[in-house]
């Protein structure tokens, strides 16, 4: 059951209806129950894994800080446990079939019918949330949670379980401890987020995804460079709208429970440099990586007496952070490469900082800002190649992009989707320039109604074509 399915909407409607009838404590119990029902609807074992991780972290956290002293060994134990759990499930898909094949080649019948371990739903997201929770408790920034329901709900809360936003315990747990209010403003904001999410996911992302010919992913070198450029732009916008659409819907749904979830995107394709891009793309993950990978590495290097401190601080924190980000997205060479590439972008961008102060993008001349946007979008789109394609195919695609001897666009139907790219940019532009993601609520009633009616009509038509796309980031 995913977020655009009708049974998910029915579950949410039931959850909301009962929720409003309950006082605070039972509300949290009810939300926890609904969240676990949602998990079980995928696979009951996912609920068991999450339950065990919840229990172990809850039990460990109170021992991380005794007499105002952090217990480093216990913290590492907790981190290693959570990371190993993630690696185990992530790697299982790669090494278990290999192990089975090896055993069979040795004449040992495994009789398993093929080892299969599914990655539990939302594992990558709640693992990072548990790590940040343990670190915050260790640092004394957060008191260990003693309420099982609240802590379990923090990890399992169903609107954010599949693909975030990745909430921090110190911001999220207090929300669970206090009464929530859902008034007209919250309802309007929630409805608006859901509508924008539906536009992004069902109208823009799914249509863009449907426009792909299957061989684009299998044999990209068949296409001419201009065609590949268009395919890559389509992919970039499909991925963005898919994930941003999910986040908007998740936040909108959560709004009905009076629980605010953090924004995850802020017009990322208007970024003028890569540092800015990571402040606008998958913000909650980027901030997590910044706080728990980048800053600790940077601080550790700064504390050392190395002669090469500046250079090391220029290279190591962004590179390691982005490599970790790549591995979080998938334990594979191409994801590692994707992370490395983004790390390199960040390093190159910071080189001038070795001899002159950094000028923030908004203080640069307009032409520099536009140039920055173009360069960032182009390089970032090129980096999506190893994100989506296996490394050999990615290399083929890059190679094909360099050979402009044939610059024709033979598959002209691909151009029909370009207005959708524009539509995506227009939504971003309106929200970005007004610096108000709820700007649409300030529009006149009739304009809002016309937009919503059109969206509903388009969804009525578009959802009839036997075409359903899972959310891309759900897979991570």
């Amino acid at each position: 059951m995913t977020i655009t399915f009708i049974n998910f909407l029915m579950l949410t409607a039931l959850a909301v209806a009962v929720y409003y009838l309950l006082p605070l404590r039972p509300q949290n119990i009810w939300l926890l129950f609904v969240s676990y029902c949602f998990i079980v609807s995928w696979d009951w074992t996912f609920a068991v894994v999450l339950g065990l991780i919840t229990a172990l972290n809850l039990l460990l956290a109170p021992h991380l800080r005794i007499n105002n002293q952090g217990q480093r060994g216990l913290l590492w134990l907790g981190i290693v446990f959570n990371v190993l759990t993630l690696i185990f499930f992530r790697a299982a898909g790669f090494f278990l079939p290999e192990l089975e094949a090896l055993l069979e080649s040795m004449g040992l019948s495994t009789e398993t019918g093929g080892f299969q371990i599914l990655v539990p739903l939302g594992l990558s997201y709640y693992t990072l949330q548990t790590i940040s929770y343990l670190v915050d408790v260790y640092r004394g920034q957060l008191k260990a949670e003693s309420d099982f329901v609240n802590f379990a709900l923090y990890l399992a809360y169903f609107p954010k379980l599949l693909a975030g936003p990745m909430e921090r315990a110190r911001a999220f747990l207090p929300k669970l401890a206090q009464p929530r209010t859902v008034d007209n403003r919250v309802i309007a904001q929630s409805v608006m987020l859901i509508f924008v999410g539906l536009v992004r996911k069902l109208i823009i992302a799914d249509t863009l995804t449907a426009s792909f010919l299957p061989d684009v992913f299998e044999a990209p070198a068949k296409y001419t460079p201009p065609e590949l450029v268009v395919w890559l732009a389509i992919y970039a916008f499909a991925l963005y709208n898919d994930f941003a659409g999910y986040t908007d819907m998740a936040r909108g749904i959560s709004g009905f429970f009076g629980i605010h979830l953090s924004p995850n995107f802020r017009a990322p394709y208007f970024s003028r440099n890569f540092t800015e891009f990571w402040k606008r793309w998958h913000i909650t993950l980027s901030e997590w990586l910044r706080d728990y990978i980048y800053y600790p590495i940077s601080r550790a290097i700064s504390r050392s007496n190395s002669r090469y401190r500046s250079l090391a601080n220029l290279v190591m924190p962004p590179l390691i952070t982005m490599l970790v980000s790549g591995m979080w997205h998938g334990l594979s060479l191409h994801m590692f490469f994707w992370g490395g590439l983004h790390g390199s972008y960040l390093i190159v961008e910071r080189i001038p900082a070795l001899w002159r102060p950094i000028v923030s993008p908004q203080h640069q001349p307009l032409w520099r800002q536009w140039l920055g946007m173009t360069v960032v979008f182009s390089l970032m789109t090129l980096a999506w190649v190893p994100f989506r394609w296996e490394l050999p195919a990615a290399l083929q695609l890059w190679e094909a992009l360099l050979n402009w001897s044939d610059a024709a666009i033979r598959y002209r139907r691909m151009l029909l989707v370009l207005p959708l790219l524009l539509g995506s940019l227009v939504i971003d532009f309106i929200q970005h320039w007004s610096e108000d993601e709820f700007i649409f609520l300030k529009w006149p009633s009739l304009t809002k109604a016309a937009c919503m009616a059109t969206v509903l009509f388009l969804i009525f038509i578009l959802t009839a074509g036997d075409f359903e796309q899972p959310f891309v980031y759900q897979a991570f």
Binding site: Y19, Y20, L21, P23, Q27, P179, R180, T181, V182, D183, N184, I187, A188, D206, T207, A210, S211, G258, R413, L416, V417, S445, L446, K448, A449, A450, M452, A453, T454, L456, F457, F460, I461, L462, T463, A464, G465, D466, F467
Partner: protein, 360 residues
């Protein structure tokens, strides 16, 4: 109970009402467009929510014929044997030869239909088009395929077909009343870059259906009088073996036939005609010809009971060896011979007064 969490007023009512009204307005405009002939002429016919590739297409063609001619005089229903074996053009010519009158006929043979599913379709066709003459092309297979078999089930489980049989469903109701809803799947696919070429491949996978519903085949088979080869695992052989080796006429299909024959009482002329089969088909039956004769006898009994003419083609043996596609389907040549004969039969019987006159 007053909720402590939910604290809303009705201040945003205006936007909600505007949205609902505008949405309904958009639906109404789209429905109006979907009903227009120019829109329908542009797109491949809708599938009526069915997974059967022919159903929607034949309905659209029948609708078009009815609109063009003002009425449809006769419709022949049945399985794929009717689809490939009944040429309305040849039938009309044979009929005219005897009576001197022009009529409009349509072939509503649907691939893999059973007597039960043909009965369901007959009910819809009769309600919609009131043809004067209803010809049911029948064959032994019609009675052996259970209702749950994927082939008839694909017709019977179509929400629209089920709705028209009195089993209410929202989707069935919407398909029955809204052209927009009928075309919604096509529009959805178009919007997802499945253009007309893809849409056509859903409705017409191999052959071109003519505007009168006939699907002519040009293939000529030479093996039709021989027994099937041992170990042949082709679909044709395995399918007929499955259906005929222990031949049974199922009650639901006999009931379907009786339902169809019930239309004869409503002023409409119903004729039952045995679809011709080559001698080779008998090899598939456990008891060879005696199984086949059992089918003819039982259908004949029911026809007599309902006072319906049942014309048997088996003793006539008028289809030449080059008139077959396979063990049971007529090719274009065979279809023309059979249909001309049938047209003459109907004309002659009508002139003799043994049939109700079905001229409008």
């Amino acid at each position: 109970m007053k909720s402590a969490t939910l604290q809303i007023t009705t201040a945003t009512r205006k936007t909600v009402w505007f949205t609902v009204l505008l949405f309904l307005l958009l639906i109404a405009i789209a429905e109006w467009i979907a009903r227009s002939q120019s829109f329908q002429g542009t797109l491949t016919p809708p599938r009526m929510g069915s997974h059967h590739y022919q159903l929607g297409h034949k309905l659209a063609l029948l609708d078009l014929l009815a609109r063009k001619a003002g009425h449809v005089d006769c419709i022949m229903l049945g399985s794929s044997m009717v689809d490939t074996g009944f040429s309305p053009k040849a039938f009309q010519a044979g009929y005219k030869e005897i009576t001197g009158r022009d009529i409009h006929c349509f072939n509503f043979g649907i691939d893999a239909s059973s007597a039960a599913s043909t009965a369901a379709l007959t009910r819809i066709i009769v309600e919609e088009y009131h043809p004067g003459l209803l010809i049911i092309g029948t064959d032994a297979r019609d009675y052996a395929v259970p209702r749950e078999d994927p082939d008839p089930a694909v017709v019977l489980n179509t929400p629209w077909v089920a709705y028209r049989q009195g089993n209410f469903s929202l989707e069935g109701w919407l398909l029955d009343h809204s052209y927009l809803y009928r075309y919604r799947q096509h529009l959805g696919r178009l919007a997802r870059f499945q253009f007309e070429d893809t849409l056509r491949s859903y409705t017409k996978p191999n052959y071109e259906i003519l505007p009168n519903g006939f699907t002519p085949h040009n293939k000529v088979s030479t093996y039709i009088n021989d027994p099937p080869r041992m170990g042949d695992t082709s679909f044709e052989i395995t399918y007929y073996t499955r259906i005929y080796s222990s031949y049974q006429m199922l009650p639901e299909n006999l009931e379907g036939l009786e339902t169809i024959m019930g239309n004869n009482k409503s002023g409409m002329q119903v004729i039952l005609v045995e679809m011709p089969v080559p001698d080779g088909l008998y090899y598939f039956f456990g008891d060879r010809e005696s199984d086949y004769k059992r089918f003819l006898t039982r259908v004949g009994e029911l026809a007599t009971l309902h006072r319906i003419p049942f014309w048997q083609t088996e003793p006539l043996d008028f289809i030449p060896d080059h008139g077959w596609v396979d063990y049971s389907h007529l090719n274009k040549t065979g279809a023309e011979i059979f249909s001309t004969w049938l047209g003459r039969q109907v004309g002659t019987a009508e002139q003799r007064g043994s049939l109700k006159s079905f001229q409008p």
